[in-house]
């Protein structure tokens, strides 16, 4: 499971950083290293880009797992360069930004990335979303292909009229989730499962903001 990110357009970052001349940069050694959006190389490139704009980079760190509590230890270790900066630019997903903002409360912590989705890695550099974390898993009845995620419209009772030659109306490169589900259920001799009416989803399984206490 990886948190999939992309770098924000540099113009947007420039705008967000316009009031700050001294920046501390934090990357992440896990997900954003894999997606090449916030690992050692990307942090170094960002440092150069900011310096070429006349910013002073007071320091940088690539936190092994930026969403974890190790961020606290590294924030403490880098405390002097963090404190001499005016803003922290985080090249982790939003979970890493959140984590950093809990330890550095007297300065703005600014995301350098947009967090897109929680995805899996196919090993060939392709990251795809397979779960939308809806809180009511239907995989057991859908031949393990999630229609909430794999169908553009998140339909629960079969394909829409936009399906064409097994592809999706929004992108001819994308498979129609319901063709995949149908084929796989058929292969498993379980088409009756697809005939079953799926009632409207409960969108309030855990009302937002979602919190679960594990005692």
């Amino acid at each position: 499971m990886k948190s999939i990110t992309k770098q924000k357009p540099f113009d947007e970052l420039t705008q967000q950083l316009q009031d700050f001349s001294r920046i501390f940069i934090a990357g992440c050694g896990t997900c954003t290293t894999l997606t090449k959006t916030g690992g050692i190389e990307e942090v170094a490139a960002m440092k150069e880009q900011l310096q070429s704009q006349g910013k002073l980079v007071t320091g940088s760190v690539v936190i092994p797992v930026a969403c974890d509590d190790i961020t606290e230890a590294l924030a403490r270790e880098n405390s002097s360069s963090i404190q001499s900066s005016q803003a922290i630019l985080v090249m982790a997903c939003a979970l890493g930004v959140h984590r950093m903002s809990q330890y550095v409360i007297n300065k703005p912590v600014i995301p350098a990335l947009d967090t897109l989705f929680i995805g899996v890695d196919d090993g060939q550099g392709v990251f795809s979303e397979v779960c939308a974390q809806c809180g009511q898993c239907v995989l057991g009845e859908m031949a393990d292909i999630c229609p909430i995620t794999a169908c553009h419209k998140g339909l629960l009772n079969g394909p829409c009229g936009g399906t064409n030659n097994g592809k999706c109306e929004v992108d001819k490169e994308k498979d129609c989730a319901w063709t995949l589900i149908y084929n796989r259920l058929k292969e498993q001799n379980r088409l009756d499962t697809m005939r079953k009416y799926q009632p409207p989803k409960n969108y309030q399984v855990v009302p937002r903001p979602r919190v679960v206490k594990v005692m």
Binding site: H152, K153, C160, G161, G162, E169
Partner: protein
Amino acid sequence: MPSKFKSLLDSGKFIVTSEIGPPKGTNLEKMYHHIDILRDKVDAINVTDHQSSVMRFPSIGGCLAIEERGGEPILQMTCRDRNRMALQAELLFAYIRGVRNVLCLTGDAVPVGDHKEAKGVFDLDSVQLLRAIRTMESGKDLGGNDLDGTVEFCAGAIVTPEANPIEPQLLKFEKKVEAGAEFFQTQAVYDLDKFSNFMQFARRFPVKILAGIVLLSSAKMAKYMTDNVPGIFVPQNLIDELANAPKGTALNKGIEIAGRMVTTLKQEAICDGVHIMAIGKEEVVPDILAAAGV
């Protein structure tokens, strides 16, 4: 009391419906004109609901205009733009204003339209919307609460007889029937042999099937639809027929083809009626009907 359209469906008469698309804006003159052309020529008029995900004057507004002008409206409702609360509220409003026929659709995807960054809702799907209507008719809303005054609708749905692959589509068709669909208006069909095969399947269910007839206005348009519109396949012989029509007469040829198809469907009792979609050329729907002799 069943709607006028429902009584006609049950009468066994060969049904003819057509459709109008409301305008983008408040100038309703053209829509009124189309209503006036169609209202006495067809049994009911569908009003599209932000067709192709393009924001327009609302479907319910078009239906009220049809009512006011003496026609029988079919309210198209997609699940794209409203959650279950808004859909139910609109059904209450439609009912109280005399709109008694509803066509339940999923709705096109947001990115194909003209508000590409909008949030697609899809809180319900078309099968769930059909069930929602039946639930409301029983006096309850989807939250399980009592309604003070209920509704009664003739509910319909759509099906794409030439979808590829067809099996998942037919499975959903069955779910729609079970959910309470009383009639189906199909995606455009051109190959009547293939459509007859679909009808052999559909005849097993207690629903009325109106074959979708999309007017072909030129060979180019026919080819475009075949290449780009999911589930539409115009056979090459029809494309050739349009291409070989003398210059400036392709539309007349399209009217002739549509008329011919309606005649065959009716004479051979292949299905229960037709739904004619003229897509911007509503003026010629009476010509198609005249060509078909209905």
